[in-house]
């Protein structure tokens, strides 16, 4: 079992997301992360998926994805040098005084921004590679995470290469 990061360029049409995710659920795959948004090409969206599976299984799903009429291109970024990013919004319990100071200190180390402050909470925004967000989450947990939102990861190849040029 290996974690795969897939980038799927699709026609921006109704139902395309359920076509794509349906292929994974039909094969019993759990999608760990999913992010969707417009791409650089007009009328298309890019879906970034992270799934765990053995290479043969993942290869089969990629082939099945390619068969979808609304899928323009599927790229498995797993073996390529790439940058992965994710955004998280975390609302943490932070009573004024000692607790709040502790949270702020952790935020500073992780270069998380404070985007909202309440009487008993602080909301942090952090962007970075997903492992960094995991680490921050771990450190904040003892303080009491009230709510956690993660966007799911997106990934881009390093250097000149683009997923469209990469075969």
């Amino acid at each position: 079992m290996k974690r795969h990061t897939l980038s799927v360029l699709v026609e921006n049409r109704a139902g395309v997301l359920s076509r794509v995710t349906g292929l994974f659920s039909r094969r019993g795959f759990n999608i760990e992360s999913l992010a969707v948004g417009p791409s650089e090409m007009e009328g298309t969206s890019r879906i970034t998926l992270v799934v765990c599976g053995d290479d043969r299984e993942v290869e089969q799903v990629i082939k099945q994805l390619n068969k979808l009429i609304d899928v323009i291109k599927v790229s498995d970024l797993t073996e390529f040098e790439r940058v992965e990013r994710e955004l998280a919004l975390i609302k943490v319990a932070a009573e004024p005084g000692e607790p709040r100071a502790g949270v702020m200190q952790i935020a500073t180390i992780f270069r998380a921004q404070v985007i909202d402050v309440g009487p008993k909470t602080v909301t942090l925004q952090v962007a970075g590679d997903p492992e960094k967000i995991d680490a921050l989450e771990g450190l904040l947990r003892p303080s009491g995470i009230k709510e956690l939102y993660r966007t799911g990861r997106i990934a881009v190849l390093r250097g000149q290469k683009t997923v469209r040029s990469e075969k």
Binding site: V10, E11, A14, G15, S18, R19, G22, R26, E59, Q60, K63, Q64, N66, K67, L68, I69, D70, V71, I72
Partner: protein, 558 residues
């Protein structure tokens, strides 16, 4: 001047060359039926929407063209689903049209609303929910293009009522050609892969061709036979590939797999080169996959890249249209078979392990199929239901042409045969269409006797009536200590039922009456039913038990 979405729809179908559609009306498709009322498009009113889908499928298989069916929203659309899934599993080009509640009510649980677009996503090649009448010309063109090209398959178009009634200028432009950036099937095989395949073929001492439904779909029967002859390679076909090479061709070993011939299965086990052509290594073919063709290098030709390497590792994958790729191979392949010893060995098995037709004066189904085969001599179309009847037909009928055999393979849908045979009659007017049925399967869509009688559709039904869900009973006999749990069917008088619908028929319970009854069926100018009371506990042999290697057959001595 303006026209309506419904008119544009029917105009679009006619432009695609559709002559006959199979359907059933209801509330939201009334605007479409109103156009059909005085349209040149022929519409056949079935008695259940499932039959509309199967009939369109049978039409497609018999003709090679796209079949079309039509149903109303909700229950009508849902009734199509089994038929759509059947076509999907066997890669049959179909366009299914469904009515839908008006766009303004979508998602409201309106009367007879069902999300047929969502329901059929996993069983269609593609599907559409049309939101604007103006999209219809493009959607129709795309649907036919997608259904018929590449690896064919069913496409569903869901048509909300306000799309059908929507106004359009009456000079709508229908697209001449379709191009989709996410859909570009590969037709030509990669030259380097062709080269590699030819190299293996030249070196092989014990080559075997394993041909599937792709050969029929791409019309590659001549190329397949030419390759076999050039290589001196025997050919075994899947259930779907029957007719891809003449049944009486000396290199043809018949079907392989669970109920394949012993000699085909032995040949698979001993070959050193397996050339898979338009086949997909289905579990009913391979048995235990680890022991399938254990000594062989594998060349796999298929238009669908997802089939290659899916179940079995492949040495030389070739993605492309089977007819095209075989043509490329034939261009490069030098002649000269050097396989005499291999053919001798295979023919040895053929002689020592033939298919058995019991001859003890009792009424055996194998003999009925052989009698039909001798009578038709490979002409016309044979359709089957599912179960033992299907396997006896596949084993004992000598198919001589592609598209002369129509059966539900991948999904194994009981109830498929009768409506599919109706479709075949419309696709091949003037030709004999015989259905070989089981008494269980026939009762799954027996209401279509109504459609058949109504339109005098010349379907000849031969019921191999054993008073059992025979194939299931066989498994119970062999693997569940003869505990026949809910598989016995009380006797049904099929001739009586047929007569009540206005169809003639005859009951046969004596072997001597078989041939005359078949001839009577042939000589009718309309439908006919032959109810043959066969030996009740006859089994289909050989049989590879589920999960066994394909050379480990019951009903054979090694």
């Amino acid at each position: 001047m303006t026209t309506t979405g419904a008119s544009v729809l029917i105009e679009g179908l006619l432009r695609q060359g559709t002559k006959t559609i199979f359907g059933y009306p209801g509330g939201v498709v009334l605007p479409i039926y109103d156009v059909l009322y005085d349209s040149p498009l022929e519409h056949i009113l079935v008695r259940h929407e499932q039959a509309a889908a199967h009939a369109a499928d049978g039409y497609a298989r018999a003709s090679g063209k796209v079949g079309v069916c039509l149903a109303t929203s909700g229950p009508g659309a849902c009734n199509l689903v089994t038929g759509i899934a059947t076509a999907y599993m066997d890669s049959i080009p179909l366009v299914a049209l469904t009515g839908q509640v008006p766009t303004g009510l979508l998602g409201n649980d309106a009367f007879q609303e069902s999300d047929i677009h969502g329901i059929t996503m996993p069983v269609t090649k593609h599907n559409y929910l049309v939101k604007r009448a103006a999209d219809l010309p493009q959607v129709i063109a795309e649907a036919f293009y997608i259904a018929a090209t590449g690896r064919p398959g069913p496409v569903l178009i869901d048509l909300p009522k306000d799309v059908s009634t929507g106004e359009l200028p009456d000079d709508v432009v229908f697209p001449e050609a379709v191009s989709l950036r996410g859909y570009q099937p590969t037709i030509r095989g990669h030259p380097r892969q062709i080269e590699k395949a030819v190299d293996l073929m030249v070196q092989a001492g014990r080559p075997l061709i394993y041909a599937g439904g792709g050969v029929i779909l791409s019309g590659a029967d001549a190329e397949l036979t030419a390759l076999a002859e050039r290589l001196g390679a025997p050919v075994t076909t899947t259930l779907m590939g029957l007719g891809g090479i003449r049944g009486d061709h000396p290199l043809n070993l018949g079907m392989l797999g669970m109920h394949g011939t012993a000699y085909a299965n032995y040949a698979v086990t001993e070959c050193d080169l397996l050339i898979a052509v338009g086949a997909r290594f289905d579990d009913r073919v391979t048995g235990r996959i680890e022991t399938f063709a254990p000594h062989a290098q594998v060349v796999h030709i298929d238009i669908d890249p997802a089939e290659i390497g899916k179940n079995k590792p492949v040495d030389v994958p070739i993605v492309g249209d089977v007819k095209h790729v075989l043509g490329q191979i034939l261009q490069r392949l030098p002649g000269g078979p050097k396989t005499e010893r291999w053919l001798e060995r295979v023919n040895g098995w053929r002689a020592t392990h033939p298919l058995v037709v019991p001859e003890n004066g009792l009424l055996h189904p194998q003999g009925v199929v052989r009698a039909l085969s001798e009578m038709l001599r490979g002409e016309g179309v044979v359709v089957s239901e599912v179960g033992q009847n299907q396997m006896w037909a596949a084993q004992h009928f000598c198919f001589k042409k592609p598209r002369s055999w129509i059966t539900s393979g991948g999904l194994g849908t009981m109830g498929y045969g009768l409506p599919a045979a109706m479709g075949a009659c419309y696709a091949r007017p003037g030709e004999q269409v015989f259905l070989i049925a089981g008494d269980g399967s026939l009762q799954m869509n027996i209401q279509e006797f109504g459609t058949i009688a109504h339109n005098r559709i010349p379907v000849r039904v031969v019921v191999l009536n054993n008073g059992f869900l025979g194939m299931v009973r066989q498994w119970q006999e062999l693997f569940f200590e003869r505990r026949y749990s809910y598989t016995e069917l009380p006797a049904v008088d099929f001739v009586g039922i047929a007569k009540a619908y206005g169809i003639d028929g005859v009951l046969v319970d004596d072997p001597a009456e078989v041939r005359p009854a078949l001839e009577a069926a042939r000589d009718q100018d309309g439908p006919f039913v032959v109810d043959v009371r066969i030996e009740r506990e006859e089994n289909v042999f050989p049989m590879v038990p589920a999960g066994a290697a394909i050379n480990e057959m019951i009903g054979e001595r090694r």
